[in-house]
Symmetry: none
Subunit: 205 residues, 4 copies
């Protein structure tokens, strides 16, 4: 009998998780199409095919749901920004691989990325904070890498702070152009190589 109850509970929990996932997924699509502000809870429940009350059974509101979607993406991203080991050879290949992974992740999560770039800022203190934290993390990561590079003599003398800003901004713009601003595919490998080539060697002849 306890097994039967366990079974029931288990099935209940599974169903709950499935519902949550279903609402998250359909909401993601709606947000990506309409944008956060233009999306009403009615839009979300309609897309999810559930009643208004059901929506609130799973989420505290559209902002809370949105926050969860953002967390999903930043988690995805963090998992893909793994460190480059400068003591090992083939640094440029490692960097290339990292940039490719980041771009591929964002392409795979195009809807979320679109939301993130288009409307995530200024919605909500919690969202802003989360994004600012991610931003600082990213910037710090690049700046430290440059400083380490300078210490080991790979990187020439330069303003590591500003260069970190430029590297992050360049990547952000690539995403804006090739992931957010279009539905077309692009050659991730080629773009990643061009990015590295530019950032490492500049444009002067």
């Amino acid at each position: 009998m306890s097994e039967e109850i366990d079974g029931r509970v288990r099935r209940g929990l599974d169903a709950r998780e499935a519902r949550r996932a279903q609402i998250l997924e359909s909401s993601l699509q709606v947000f990506a199409e309409r944008g956060f502000h233009a999306t009403s809870v009615s839009d979300l429940v309609e897309a999810a095919g559930v009643a208004r009350g059901t929506f609130y059974l799973y989420f505290d509101g559209k902002e809370a749901l949105f926050l969860e979607l953002l967390e999903d993406l930043t988690r995805h991203l963090r998992e893909n920004i793994v460190g480059v080991d400068l003591t090992r050879g083939g640094m440029e290949d490692q960097l290339q691989a990292t940039v490719e992974r980041i771009l591929a992740t964002l392409v795979d999560n195009r809807a979320l990325t679109r939301i993130l770039f288009r409307e995530a800022v200024g919605l909500n203190a919690a969202v802003d904070e989360r994004l600012a934290a991610f931003d600082a993390e990213l910037h710090g990561y690049v700046a430290r890498a440059l400083q380490v590079g300078q210490a080991v003599g790979i990187v020439r003398p330069l303003d590591a702070e500003v260069s970190a800003v430029l590297v992050v901004g360049g990547l952000r713009e690539v995403v804006r152009r090739y992931v957010v601003g279009t539905d077309e595919m692009f050659d991730v490998s080629r773009v990643a190589r061009a990015v590295l080539d530019h950032q490492l060697r500049g444009v002067l002849a």
Copy 2:
């Protein structure tokens, strides 16, 4: 008598223009503080010190007013991005001066810049279009400059498209960090120099 009427009309038009300018200016401040979505028409008329009806006498609505503010800024910017004559010597100095002018303009219009970066996207088809156009313009300008540079042998062989994206993104990020994200001043000249140094020569030793 026609002169008298002209005088009246003139005075009327001047007053009208002054009112418009006053409402635009006060609205700009409110938008910069509260953000577009958190700002209501009530906030705007209160800040302007005019009646609600008067507001609609001068603008078609809060979005239309916002659009005008954006146009102001993009016009300002356009005026400051003047071409670099690569055939003349001192190219790097010319670029340095251009970057400095852009940054200085944005610092001078911090409120507008903040609005532009924080919330302008996804508000409205018209706004999006205008921003996209400016973006394309900027990108094209840089890309063409790079191609010309390649033609005259100043710029090494590279993917001009991607490099243009990286240059624009780098500048955008600098603005995000040093203009939008803080109220503190920064050394425009030093940052401009670091930007050029990075973009021209890359980071490798």
Copy 3:
């Protein structure tokens, strides 16, 4: 075998009754704390420790349950308002005992009394009707007692109708003050004596 079934049924009914009683009791507490309107069915099922559906298996809804609680209290009260035999001596002692019994009953059911006084009116036609009926019953009881008293010469000539209203109202106010409005105990006997003294002899010297 029929015995066995009887046993089963009996056990089933007992369990049912126990469940009902448990839900009634916990609901009473919640109503007394939060008040009728501020109490949701969720509060009730949570307090009872049963599922939402189970609640509706035992009661038609929160109003129906509330009505049952009210009936409990009015039944308790009716049982304690036993007639005074004016032909027998010691009338004042009998009245004193009656008032004490009423007050003691209400103190013993403080939660219910509180609900009754604070929020029972205007909830629902059924509740209102029940309360009005109890009210009329009480009023009639006192009025008749006064008339009988007049007939036997114990009560002086007066407006029995109005006096009945005043007697009931006085008692009601005592309950409001000493039972509903506070959690402190009070000297039931002393108050009952003061009540009778006042109502029987007035305040004039």
Copy 4:
């Protein structure tokens, strides 16, 4: 011109006050009929014949409006409970006049009185506080009067606290019966006399 503007402003303010009064009056009727909880903002705006938005232009919500109605009544009442001067003769006549005034005021404001008695308690902390304060004031007034009476020898030795409770409760019940519980008129003078006769002299022969 300043006169003209003054005129405009004056007219505007008058109109505002008239609207407020109109909404208050129609809301009062609805509350008296349906009761507070059964009344929705929709009911109120429909009764007032204004748009939903207009309602919120004048009141913060239905609770705020309700609070204003209650304040109206308690102000009316306070103005009618003027002290009895025991040093002057004809004390009983003075009391009679006071009771008559109170009853007349409540009859004149039957709708408000009905609301006050039926549903004012337990709605809201602010309302409760206001009512409790009025209650305490009333009780204190009577208790002090009894004590003064005892001091000057008009009132016999008794428990002034409990007697005050009984007097207030008696009056409250009279109102409940003759004002709140029916739409019929009653002989205010006769009832007031019966009330005083009962409270002053009791029921015993």
